[in-house]
């Protein structure tokens, strides 16, 4: 059994293309139960940076204006300029300025991340309450406020991943720095 286990781990690590650190994985009693597919689908609502996981549905900034005013403005302020919640738009300063402003427009690298975050975490008092159309709409509204898309541009599972964020190439992997 021991040999089989170590062999399996080595295989796994070879597949992952990485060295085995320590190589000693304690064996468990194997009490995991098969997870039903329906349950995985219900819990896994991740939207990846490339848009994988985006649901059906659509929305425009035009439709998002009202949702923002009703559900977000109290914390994020008029035009997303910030209040008790983060500033989301309207940056006057670039990232290289003396007082940089990090907003969706100046800092966020991927548009689908915005959909993911709003759907999972906002609005703060009733997280998870926005439907997919409303999430697309308010996402569109925030992209519009940041001058990235037009007022009537429809955001959906196809168009949102195509939105090129201004700071798309703004990140360097710290693990590759000296």
């Amino acid at each position: 059994m021991m040999t089989i286990r170590i062999w399996a781990i080595t295989l796994l690590w070879t597949l992952a293309g990485t060295e085995v650190p320590g190589a000693e994985i304690p064996e468990g009693p194997g009490l995991g139960r098969p997870a039903p597919a329906a349950y995985i689908a219900a819990w896994d609502t991740d939207v990846m940076a490339d848009g994988a996981g985006l649901p059906p549905g659509a929305g425009t900034a035009e439709a998002g204006t009202r949702i923002y005013a009703q559900q977000c403005l109290s914390c994020h302020g008029e035009d997303g300029l910030g209040d008790s919640g983060d500033q989301l738009a309207g940056a006057q300063h670039k990232l290289t300025d003396e007082w940089p402003e990090k907003t969706i427009g100046t800092f966020w690298p991927y548009a689908p991340t915005l959909f993911d975050f709003i759907r999972r975490s906002m609005p703060m008092r009733t997280p998870g309450s926005l439907g997919d159309d409303d999430t697309y709409a308010v996402t569109a509204y925030l992209l519009y406020l940041n001058g990235i898309i037009g007022f009537k541009d429809e955001m959906n599972a196809v168009s949102l991943p195509k939105v090129r964020m201004p700071n798309r190439d703004g990140f360097i992997d710290a693990r590759e720095l000296p």
């Binding site: 995991g32 139960r33 349950y39 993911d116």
Partner: protein, 451 residues
Amino acid sequence: MARGDNRDKQLSAPTEFAAGNGLLDRRLFLQGGMAIGSAMLLSGTDAAAAGETAIDPRPKWMREPGAEFRPYGFPSLHEDEVVRFASPNRVMRNNGASWTPLHLLEGTITPNGLHFERHHNGVPSLDPEQHRLLIHGLVARPLEFFMSDLLRYPLRSQICFLECGGNSNAGWNRIPSTAEAGYFHGLASCSEWTGVPLATLLHEAQPGEGVRWLIAEGADAFAMHVSIPLEKAMGDAMLALYQNGERLRPENGYPLRLILPGWEGVLNVKWLRRLELSDRPAMARNETARYTELLPSGKARIFSFVMEAKSLITSPSSGMVLRQRPGLYQITGLAWSGRGRIRQVDVSADSGKTWAPAELQEPVLPKSFTRFRIPWRWSGAPAVLKSRAVDETGYVQPERKVLLAERGRHGFYHYNAIVNWAVDEQGSVSHVYDDDDQDLGDHPPVDAGWD
């Protein structure tokens, strides 16, 4: 015997100076018989210093029965100032952080009720019977575990620190923070965590080809989610069920928390409910828009997982007074490194001109708080105290000006510069920057928050 009685005796004891401005050999205390002055918060009272009171042969508490048993103990009522300092969002009171009072604690293990907190939308009151962990994604066998399942696995314990990536970020400010040491650097705590090695469960789910990342998600109102490289998950990562011997505190992720020793706090997902094996990271909001460090070039560091070596003197520290002035004091503090063990901590009493090695309290554990101590004879003249950690990789904790030169002023996270405490002629301690590290411009101070 009143503490002052033997003060002169110990002051005249022959001693060897280990570095400038009164730093003594670190082993001096081990020789025994030394009485030392105490540094206390300004609000503290010292009966010995207040003068003799009438001698009571049998104080009140010896003339009546003491308190009865309690099912769960809590600290002495006299220690009610030893508390976390919380800074919640002004509207969303469940969003914010609370700091461990490092300056009021000794040893290296943080009491569970004082562990720092960073919650993005409060502490969920979840039902442990219903809570489950799902492992899915690129695996041959997607699995679910109830907590009662996980409790039946062979458990392991590991002592390690946890530190928020935003810890100490007031250090970026142009004006030195006036907060006490713990309320400045206390988004860091150290505990013994007990749980199931993550590799055991991943192995059971049989990861498929091409897996590089794990996407972890918490069961809180924020549904916190972040990505973790597979190497760490297969290394020393743990699914913690216990904290310092008891089940996790709600604010620390009850009933299940991911522990990634030495790595940025946010990755140690609390209330863990889901682990998805993936060929790529999620690029979630909390690994792109937040928890990345903007550099002067306008680019930002991403995936800056490891918490670099840091140290600070916890006593004497900001807001304290040296009461037995001048005299012999014990300088004590904490050092830690996300890369492994602390190899050495040097202390300076002359603003960094000369340094002497402090005594490290055994055992020195990897990725854990390490307590250091060194005796110091304060002459009564102004002094600037510093500590500098070196870890087992040879990494040396940088001076603030070096950190600023490398990372600019707007990195927000991963501030680990050397901390200066200035002692004035009255014995009052405050936080200062070096003379050659002053910003004389009329800029507003950086208003660093906590996320």
